[in-house]
């Protein structure tokens, strides 16, 4: 340790109570920012994982040109034809940044239980892609509780069930159906929908009927079997969501087209570059398509809006915390330099330049900030562990179910916060000290600081 640093440490030790208070302010502020950062990080990853994987949006989504807005109304004109699907698959297979992809068919219709029916919004999925999603490391890390059904078996885990479907909890409750992987009897007994035990009759088997408009505009229907109940991504979706194997929905809608192809990347950070390259390759192949990134509000307004809101909120609170900590340092250093006016005069009289004296105080502030940051890191991480172990559950905006309050700060966040705290501390010290250093040596030596 150099002499300057020794002097700085000695200066710090001179008024331990005040410096302890200041250090605590830095520590608490730093810990608060770590906790806040952990919350923001958790929410961003949770929503991103839900958006990209569990809601099957992918890091990139490929639609036929204008298909995003028009495919639901005019599916025959704006869904991807089989030859387009094959061309897209060939392009995706050639890109090593692409981990896998899935074809999806969206539609609407009615699900009936023999007595009553409920409207649904359906998503047809490829089971191979669905299996990869459910087993994906990102899903297991960030949204393990959202990836598995509330009841029954996930679609990829169901073997040999014709027309297997999963319903959101609200839709299943409306139809009074319970999931089962056992095939219902081929001939369904007649139902007396007006009987007192109608609900029991309906619940006696897991079979249900789906009806919907085919791509050519006719009404179609097919039998299905409820094998799983899941929680919808939002309260609204929880009332009407249905997920089925792609082939089941294609049979219902009498089509071989799909609405979109979702692309899952090895690294989400590649999304902009892959989107750019993919759009170029698709156009070069003569395909009139549109490629959307997961952070494009056109496809994922909820993700973009929520992450933006959480970011702004956390940023504002973080700014307040940083300002409070900085003012605390400013206050402490102002008092310190006033109390030590004669010491400053003495140092100046024995040959220390203003810059050297300023450096001395800055070293003290840096040491204080370092100690406070280290203490804050320990405090923040302890708070994170305590909160995560407490298994606090809360109703997060946009989620149909209560989720666990998890704080997951990253090392990068911790370093970034420290990198913010240190310069703020030094600036506050510089502001507090520089005016006093402009005073003449004689005045410094004769000023009363009692």
């Amino acid at each position: 340790m150099t002499g300057a640093w020794r002097l700085a440490w000695r200066g710090l030790a001179r008024n331990r109570r005040r410096n302890l208070t200041t250090g605590l302010a830095i520590a608490v502020g730093y810990a608060g920012l770590v906790v806040l950062g952990g919350y923001a990080n958790r929410i961003e990853h949770l929503i991103r994982t839900s958006t990209v994987y569990l809601q099957h949006g992918g890091h990139l989504a490929i639609y036929r040109e204008h298909g995003l807005g028009r495919a639901s109304a005019r599916p025959a004109a704006y869904a991807l034809a089989p030859e387009e699907q094959r061309a897209i698959a060939a392009i995706l297979a050639a890109d090593p940044r692409v981990e896998f992809w899935g074809r999806y068919l969206q539609g609407s219709g009615l699900a009936g239980n023999g007595c009553t029916s409920r409207p649904f919004q359906a998503l047809g999925v490829e089971l191979a892609a669905e299996r990869r999603i459910l087993e994906h490391v990102q899903v297991k890390r960030w949204a393990p509780e959202l990836g598995r059904p509330l009841a029954g078996l996930a679609l990829p885990d169901v073997q040999g069930v014709e027309g297997a479907v999963a319903l959101s909890a609200g839709l299943a409750a409306g139809l009074r159906k319970r999931p089962s992987a056992a095939a219902p009897a081929a001939l369904a007994p007649p139902l007396d929908c007006g009987a007192p035990d109608a609900d029991a009759q309906v619940a006696a088997d897991s079979g249900l009927q789906l009806a919907g408009p085919t791509f050519d505009g006719s009404l179609s229907a097919t039998d299905a079997q409820l094998v799983a109940i899941f929680r919808g991504a939002t309260p609204e979706e929880d009332q009407s969501s249905l997920v089925a194997e792609l082939a089941t929905l294609q049979r219902l809608y009498d089509t071989d087209r799909v609405t979109s192809v979702a692309v899952y990347l090895r690294d989400a950070a590649d999304a902009p570059a892959v989107a750019r390259d993919l759009a170029g390759r698709l156009a070069a192949a003569g395909l009139r398509t549109s490629v959307y990134r997961y952070d494009d509000p056109a496809v994922n307004p909820y993700y973009v809006g929520t992450v933006g809101f959480v970011g702004a909120l956390v940023g504002f609170i973080g700014l307040l915390v940083a300002v409070v900590a900085t003012l605390s340092v400013l206050n402490a250093m102002t008092l310190a330099v006033i109390e030590r006016t004669r010491e400053v005069g003495t140092l100046r009289s024995i040959g220390f330049t203003r810059r050297q004296v300023l450096a001395l105080f800055l070293r003290e502030a840096a040491a204080l900030a370092a100690l406070g940051t280290l203490a804050g890191l320990a405090l923040g991480l302890a708070a994170v562990v305590a909160v995560n172990r407490a298994n606090v559950r809360f109703a997060a905006p946009g989620f149909a179910d209560r989720i666990q309050l998890l704080l997951q700060p990253t090392a990068t966040q911790c370093l970034a916060i420290a990198a913010l705290i240190l310069p703020l501390t030094l600036v506050a010290t510089w502001i507090a000290v520089r005016r006093r250093l402009r005073t003449g040596v004689a005045e410094l030596l004769t000023t009363s600081t009692a």
Partner: protein, 251 residues
């Protein structure tokens, strides 16, 4: 779905309740007028059978379907005849319930009035309309429909679960037949129009009764979207009520 269902609903119309109003001089009671008009659209108490050809043109694409329709009072059963892939498909309108069943399906699926708003071209909106039972009518004026003098009626929904809050309805003065209907949204805008022709006749209790031969439905908000329903080979037939029991249909 919708053109067929429209036909079913029209066939299943029942007399409407009359509303006391300041009707034009000489105007008949609204209930009697609607009862007569409904009868000519197929609402025969003993039953009627016809072949229904539906031609829908939407955004330049035309589709055709044919059904064998058996109706009795407010009930109707329509079975798909053509094209071949729709053969055996059944629509059953039983009172206020509409059921759909494909061959081989374990159970039928019910389609409620509100749910008929979904799907094909929104003609299902019209399909959920049952003038006589679900609307209160009053005669509000006289107008020409083509060359034919008609009473202009306004129908107000009696039930909250119907698709259209109001309908404007023109009924021939001389023949007491519905000539034209406009289906209005809650805001009062015309959403669809329907016009009717009556070239068919059936003999009921020794009397010749005019019967609808063609209905044309146009989207007021979708230029060019039109559905034409042609009623072929109508004949009065007695149909047992059990024909319209959904459990019997499934068997």
């Amino acid at each position: 779905m919708s053109p067929l269902v429209i036909a079913l609903f029209l066939a299943a119309s029942a007399p409407a309740a009359a509303v006391p109003s300041a009707a034009p001089a000489g105007a008949p009671g609204a209930a009697a007028l609607l009862r007569d008009a409904d009868r000519a659209r197929g609402g025969l108490e003993q039953g009627v059978t016809w072949t229904l050809e539906v031609e829908s043109t939407e955004e330049g694409v035309t589709r055709r379907r044919t059904f064998l329709v058996r109706a009795r009072g407010v009930d109707a059963l329509a079975e798909g005849v053509a094209p071949a892939r729709t053969k055996g498909e059944v629509f059953l309108f039983n009172d206020r319930s509409l059921w759909f069943l494909k061959p081989g399906q374990r159970r039928p699926i019910s389609i409620s009035a509100r749910q008929r708003l979904q799907g094909e071209a929104s003609n299902g909106d019209v399909a959920s309309t049952n003038y006589a039972r679900d609307y209160q009518g009053r005669v509000v004026g006289e107008e020409l429909v083509g060359d034919e003098p008609a009473w202009r009626m306004e129908l107000q929904a009696l039930r909250p679960d119907v698709s259209y809050d109001q309908i404007r309805y023109w009924v021939s003065k001389r023949r007491h037949l519905g000539l034209k209907a406009e289906f209005l949204t809650v805001s009062g805008e015309c959403f669809k129009t329907a016009t009717f022709d009556y070239a068919n006749q059936v003999v009921v209790a020794g009397q010749e009764v005019p019967l609808v031969s063609r209905m044309t439905i146009r989207d007021a908000m979708g230029a060019g979207n039109v559905t034409v329903l042609r009623y072929r080979e109508p004949r009065a037939e007695r149909h047992a009520p059990s024909l319209f029991n959904i459990n019997n249909v499934v068997r």
